[in-house]
């Protein structure tokens, strides 16, 4: 019960308990349909279709998963699994989420290296990689949007970019310096 109370829900709000098989099936589906970003699909399934979380709970858990390091949607699977079935739930949700995508991506990798010598494949992949670079750049612009009204935030982002992207300082070293400074700045500019 401690677990349920911790995420702010009473048993009655959750509805009938969710079986491990159902958790696996749910996250298996998310993994399979989530092309190029899984989170929108996760929200659709968890909140709208299966009603395993309320919209508020989802937002709250998502904030945690984005706050913590690591792959966001994997963290989400761990948190949802934990909520319904403890360790077993976390393991089952995680496995369900990544099993199929892992198999598919390894299959694609095998095809790629099998035919990597062909000129057509080389040209195709060079172009696909160029397009994927654009995808990362657009992601950077999208997550930068909330900083528009925060010049100090933009400056911090620019310094982070320069240190890691141009000077190639190891990430751990960069984070040890940048994260406390950036949080301190956010503290100074708090509302």
């Amino acid at each position: 019960m401690k677990r349920l109370a911790a995420v702010g829900a009473k048993r009655s709000e959750i509805g009938p308990s969710v079986s491990l098989a159902a958790l696996f099936a749910g996250f298996f589906r998310i993994g399979m349909i989530g092309f190029g970003g899984v989170l929108p699909w996760a929200r659709r399934m968890l909140v709208e279709q299966r009603k395993w979380l309320t919209a508020q709970e989802f937002t709250d858990l998502l904030a945690l998963c984005q706050f913590l390091p690591g792959p966001n949607v994997v963290n989400l699977a761990v948190a949802v699994g934990w909520r319904y079935a403890g360790v077993a739930g976390s393991v089952v949700c995680f496995t369900g989420l990544i099993a199929a995508p892992m198999a598919i991506v390894i299959g694609l990798g095998a095809v790629y290296s099998r035919y990597a010598q062909l000129t057509v494949v080389q040209h195709g992949f060079a172009a696909m990689a160029a397009a994927a670079s654009g995808l990362v750049l657009s992601t950077a612009f999208k997550i930068a949007a909330p900083l528009r009204s925060r010049p100090v935030g933009i400056a911090t982002a620019a310094i982070t970019f320069a240190i890691v992207g141009l000077v190639h300082v190891p990430l751990l070293l960069a984070l040890i310096v940048l994260v406390p400074v950036s949080i301190w700045i956010a503290w100074c500019y708090r509302e």
């Binding site: 945690l64 040209h123 172009a127 990689a129 160029a130 397009a131 654009g134 949080i183 708090r190």
Partner: protein, 178 residues
Amino acid sequence: MVLPGVKGVVALAILFAQLSLLAVGGVSSALPEMQRQVTITHGWMSGQQFAALYALAQAAPGPNMLIATLVGWQVAGLAGAVVATLALCGPSGVLCYFTASAWHRFRNARWRRIVQAGLTPVTVGLVMAAAILLIRATSIDAGHATLTALCTAGFLFTRIHPLLVLAVATAIGAMGIL
């Protein structure tokens, strides 16, 4: 006696377990470090190969952390793929497991919002760095650089599905137009 490949698997486990805890805001934040380690420190592949694997991970369904699976697979086969994936998800997953209950208690705490406001610019800078490193590797000529610019605009200003953009770009490349 060390079995062949075991060294690679151990190196993968150590690298991705570290990246797991350093990936503030998501896996994209760890991309610059991942690229640096994979292409320079360990010399497992060229920058362009890394970019191709990243593209492949994007083209597959599922979370974008599949780049770890592909790097692992490239370095040490199936064992490498599994170890790299688990190493990238494990440490952060365990942290998430033990933090989930405490998190809710502080949902309205002001420090939580301040910490998040402080992390956002760092994440933005890291993802921007990832983008530039990838673009450097994939802009093998003016044609590919232009393609990157066009795709970026497409992702930002249109509602075209990202996968469709990747597919069209791949087709254009395969036809040898660039």
